[in-house]
Symmetry: C2
Subunit: 151 residues, 2 copies
Amino acid sequence: MDRKNLQDTAPRLPIGALSRRTGCNIETIRYYEKIGLLSAPARSDGGHRLYGYGHLMRLGFVRRARELDFTLDEIRALLRLAEDRDRPCTEAREVAVVHLTDIRTKIADLQAMESVLAETVVRCADGKTPECPLLETLFGSIDPSARPPAG
Amino acid sequence: MDRKNLQDTAPRLPIGALSRRTGCNIETIRYYEKIGLLSAPARSDGGHRLYGYGHLMRLGFVRRARELDFTLDEIRALLRLAEDRDRPCTEAREVAVVHLTDIRTKIADLQAMESVLAETVVRCADGKTPECPLLETLFGSIDPSARPPAG
DNA sequence: ATAGGATCTGTAGCGGCTACAGGTTCAAGA
DNA sequence: TCTTGAACCTGTAGCCGCTACAGATCCTAT
């Protein structure tokens, strides 16, 4: 797979076709172009965008990376690595490792929320408390030692 | 705990004190007021906001709910239930159950990402592949049967 | 009286899109 | 060739939940 020089060759897809092929919204494709994530494609005489194989690959890459929740900045970095370098594996791996850590943190945070909520909902279902356990939980005592927000 | 009529009594905290007590940013407090999540407090002669006990309770509620990732709209609904009704438990529980489902979906999505990423990173570390496994994964084959985006 | 911290209003920006409005172009059928 | 109507164009504004200013005013301790 030669992924250097994804600048475009042959097939000329209009934006709608590219959208269908990649599952990416038309508006989003134009947005990616605007922020410089996709290079500006050729145009028809009338000004319609015409995409080639390189764009198809590149947009596929972006979509896949988005499905893994990489930020657009991370994706930009990965694309640069993929296109500019011969041995990008180490650097790419670093980006992924950082991102993996972020994801694991998010999972842990959500699991903490999940357990608080699940437990509270169960207590609600009991019907044993006169007050609503959910609302009671949210109206907890204010911690007087709460620190001020950073800044 | 009488939580009806949280409209304000006695202590007159300026916004900075409320911020320190609740751990909520000053800008955020003003933002909550602007969008109608917190009622406008009394003012000093010079126009500074002065908060009472009710605001302290209400903002504490909001913060706690945000920590559980409730949206501001959900929180609005919960606050209405907490203040306007006698037996809000069933309705409050419904809001929480919906939210719990959302959280569980997010966890599942993140776990799927986590396993793809973790596996890919491990393959990167192997050093057995000539190409970078991470970049290969992202440059996967485009699914020709991909459906167009909704619309 | 004065210094300097706290607060005020208003606006703009973040990420990652999405949704218009109001126009032009393209491709297929008559 | 003409006509339809779908696809496409540009540009702007909105979503969520804040955050970060600028530039003015107020409050309090000395």
